[in-house]
Symmetry: C2
Subunit: 627 residues, 2 copies
């Protein structure tokens, strides 16, 4: 990694703060923690009547996944990595110890290979591991009634200051109004997420906090049906396209736009070193699919994979700080024949690797047979299981078939084993599913997997739009999020066609923020509608800048507006280029409202009682009040 | 309009045929009609085993809205307009007559204004009108048991040759397999749409064929819950941005990508002349909102609108050939106060204009009070009603409120009046609605409007993503399409921000083709899954070109693929840049399939019985068969 690319000045790492936004840090009450959020300040509402004072609009605080990068007071140093804020908490629990040396053979070999010095992350630290007999998973603490700093952190983070707004902002109560949702049996508290609620949900297995003790740079976040719907962005090189700097920037870029976790799916060169750079500089949990790297170690020959090699890979990655592992332990020998008549066979990379191994050896999947040994590794570092759906459907034709649902049942069995070890677990889901078959996926997952969080890829609702699969899948993702899926794995426009570039990553992330948010709205998640209400109020009042700044992507909103009306004056104009001044419905409605204010009448009263008077006024004065 | 822009050679009008596609024309059996479709030819499937013959893949025929423009044998001449294929059928019914002169005052005034010669469509024809006492609506014919050529045309068009495929293609039956759908009570025939079924649906008011007798260039299409879900694209200038050539090309461009109808929402200069050019060159039905032009005629002062002026506008547009009119006759005086407490008031342009008029005069909406007179005009030209939802919600906060549903009830009353006159009618719907409140819209519409086709704008499922509202709305559009909406009005990325350009139009159209198609899949529309199956088979067999050509947007799919792997060889490679050669799950699955073929075994039998043998083979021969 070249030095020139490690400073923020040369813009290789995206650090610009969001417009009209400042980073705020909320304090914990149980623990000495600082929870970052983004506060968007708004302009005043101009009065209907001249001479009256403008009304202030309270700022809007939003969930912020961008990490320190968007804090202007933070000096980016990729070689140092992000601040290790959670290290002290991990150490205080006194159940971990630093290892003198990393324990994986492969990790050691890479470390001692001088040829790699040029690309190696320069400030490697000794790894932490649970002391003998200890279990450092958040689930383990939760079951013992311990509210960890991580738990309080996510509780504060989930609330997005809604309670504070409700208390302080009596005049503005309309913005907190929202529709009753329909949540299909989720049990999010009506008002406020407490640290104790977080603890309970984790203890029950209904939520996870992926936070490896070797990734103390992480800003803890929670994945569960009773919390905000999260999204994951995949990055990673392939044999065809590969570059460490690009991957680090892709990760930072994805977090900037709202990725709650990042999966590093690298399959190309220097996977180990790329991952180290990504983890050290990632404020969000990192997931991987360890079988990918294991396969690289045997030069792509699935049949040469062994449990020992895989085990070493798990330890290697756990000691780097990977927060969750996709493990395809549900691809059982007996399910493979069920895929033979499929239109698109097995489309999960991990699934097809394991199927090939099973067939080559005519043995049961070693991830399944060694599952309890894997649990031992997971709990020594607090790595979370993401039980992979290796047999997910890759086409509409293959949706909801016997192979897919067979595997899901096995994932349910494995969940119970993981929970026996107090290992946090989430379950991966499809894939390609037409709209009317989506709900069955959620229902079967809830039934088989004891409400362990569901984590789905889309699902894509048709096969006929390569180039637009962020959209075909956002439709399915929004719906399954509404039905109860806790995290949505994004799909980019490049799906099925090639490796995503930065533009694709952003398109995928924004599209999935939409899917996650509309799911929160439909579920009636407390406070979910606040930002919609604030943005629509800004829109109605022609506060263009506020409309841009409250949007998921202020840059794009502003540039689209400015394409036709770039002048500064247009930012306060009571129309846009879509309708022009005479046809702006909002402007016309404002004329009506103005009348009500001027007459000090309750608006609907004004309209009901004062219509005749209004008719006269319109005729006498002309009604183009804002021209 | 400059001559240079009227020929296809200079590429101003988009005419390139789609890759590997040819235009086919299917004959009617009742009538001498030719129904255009697009036939996509595919490559052969290469055999698993060397020496065996490749298997041919039958071509895929798709619904084609692009008109003659994509037929290489057609010579575009914008000054002549498209061929008037349906004129002879209209004349044969002997219930119409040419007028010596256009009957609207305004139309006449424009015609006689020599200053407009430079921009006028040069080959104006005399308008047709129903003979005195005659009703030329398709509903009128349908109720009398007449199957018109238009009805047979749409029946053939809807079927997309599925019956033919089923009959001829015994070997390929797998591609016709599809999931049972869930259609919420729609009653699409299981096999095949017959002309008689079309007639029945139109007679019952459950479907419409918008086809003004003065738009004989139209390729008839049907809108109804029991047919394929359709999409509309809006074009049109505004006071801020205006250009006739651009609007004609936008219309042709929108049809190219799949718009089933076009609404010309111009509000800027020369609306009359722009519309003439658009209609003469449009192969799809054209809709308008006549109140927009009426407002321009009174210089934007809503209170100066009169019934007489509006009536003249309807006749002016009906004689040009507009196929459907949005009429905001449900915005009643008593509903306006119900919008006073809304977050975003009235957001329909037509709705706000009528609300302003009602308030200014303290009189009931003249579109409501003169509704039967409007019906008389509609039936003299076969113009279809699109009853406008002037009080649709413009924000999540305002969804499903009393104003919106009050108006919907009134639209139901008006539908019954329109049907009394045998006037075809569709109903417009929202707007901004969170996912969990969408279904109620469909249910209420079905209940109040007697199954008249529903035509919705999105709905947008959140307010927080300006710049991405094609996506926020595609989620809602897909769902409401599934629930039973017959036509979806597209939303472009520029919604709320500015006037869409060509790129935005294409993004909007493709996004809505996705929404409409996923709705068809979920409803289980006969044959809907065929294209998905064919594309997924091509994907699985690494027939990259076929995958691109079967997609909704072959240009984008191909260019995304070629960004990383531009070489021609990559078009037959058994991997792409996303995973690289070792990680291609489809390739690995093919290894398994190959084994089965080589042993002449039924595939699942091979897998079930031959696992041990396979294990041996893999080890002996190595398994990287396709490298």
């Amino acid at each position: 990694m070249k030095t020139a690319e490690k400073t923020p000045d040369n813009q290789v790492i995206s650090t610009a703060p969001f417009p009209a936004s400042k980073k705020v840090y909320l304090d914990g009450t149980l623990h000495d923690i600082k929870v970052p959020m983004r506060e968007i300040s708004l302009h005043d509402t101009q009065p209907h009547i001249k001479g009256m004072k403008p009304t202030a609009n309270p700022s809007v605080t939003v969930y912020d996944t961008s990490g320190p990068y968007t804090d202007p007071s933070y000096q980016v140093n990729l070689e140092q990595g992000l601040p290790r804020n959670f290290e002290k908490w991990i150490l205080q629990r006194a159940d971990v110890g630093y290892l003198d040396e990393i324990s994986s053979e492969y990790g050691l070999q890479r470390k001692n290979d001088q040829d790699l010095d040029a690309i190696r992350f320069p400030n490697l630290r000794k790894p932490l591991r649970a002391l003998k007999g200890k279990n450092v998973s958040q689930m383990h603490y939760a079951k013992q009634g311990i509210i960890t700093p991580e738990m309080e952190y996510v509780a504060i983070r989930e609330n997005q200051r809604i309670a504070e707004i409700a208390k302080n902002d009596v005049n503005n109560k309309g913005l907190l109004h929202q529709h009753d949702g329909h949540s299909f049996g989720a049990n999010t508290p009506k008002g406020h997420i407490t640290p104790e609620f977080v603890r309970q949900e984790i203890a029950l297995g209904r939520a996870v906090i992926p936070a490896n003790i070797n990734h103390p740079e992480v800003e803890p976040m929670i994945i569960g049906r009773n919390f905000l719907v999260k999204i994951n962005a995949n990055i990673g090189n392939s044999a065809v396209s590969s570059n460490i700097e690009e991957e680090v920037e892709k990760a930072v870029w994805a977090c900037r736009w709202g990725a709650d976790t990042i999966m590093d799916l690298s399959t190309g060169k220097n996977i180990h070193e790329t991952r180290e750079w990504v983890i050290r500089n990632s404020p969000v949990p990192i997931g991987t699919v360890p079988i990918y790297q294991a396969l690289e170690k045997v030069n792509g020959k699935a049949e040469d994979l062994t449990w020992e090699l895989f085990r070493d890979t798990l330890i290697e990655q756990a000691e780097q700080g990977v927060d969750y592992f996709t493990i395809h332990a549900g691809v059982l020998l007996r399910y493979v024949p069920l895929t033979a008549k499929r239109t698109t066979g097995i489309v999960s990379r991990g699934g097809s690797i394991m199927a090939k191994w099973c067939l080559a050896h005519h043995k049961e999947n070693f991830l399944y047979t060694h599952f309890e040994e894997i649990c031992e590794i997971m709990k020594a570092y607090n790595v979370t299981f993401s039980l992979g759906d290796g047999l997910r459907p890759g086409s509409i034709a293959d949706a909801n078939d016997a192979a897919q649902f067979g595997e899901l049942e096995t994932l349910g069995e494995l969940t119970k084993i993981a929970w026996k070890h107090d290992v946090q677990t989430i379950i991966e889901g499809p894939g390609h599913v037409p709209m009317h078959l989506i709900k069955e996926n959620m229902e079967k997952q809830l039934a088989h997997c004891g409400e362990a969080p569901f984590y789905t890829l889309g699902p894509l609702t048709t096969d006929i739009a390569p180039g637009y699969d962020h959209i075909t899948s956002a439709i399915g993702a929004a719906m399954i999020g509404w039905y109860g899926t806790a995290m949505l794995c994004y799909v980019t426009p490049k799906e099925h066609l090639g490796l995503p570039n930065k533009k694709d990553v952003k398109d995928g992330v924004i599209t999935y923020k939409i899917a996650a948010h509309v799911a929160d709205l439909a579920k009636g998640h407390p406070g979910a509608q606040y930002r919609d209400n604030a943005l629509s109020k800004a829109r109605f009042e022609f506060r263009w800048e506020d409309q841009f700044n409250l949007s998921l992507d202020p840059d794009t909103a502003k540039s689209f507006h400015d394409e036709t009306l770039p002048a500064e004056g247009a930012k306060i104009a009571h129309f846009c280029s879509m309708c022009g001044p005479n046809f702006c419905s909002m402007k016309i409605t404002q004329d009506v409202r103005k009348y009500a204010s001027e007459n000090n009448l309750d608006e609907s009263e004004a309209l009901e009682k004062g219509l005749k008077e209004k008719a006269k006024e319109f005729t006498e004065k002309g009604s183009e009040i804002y021209l």
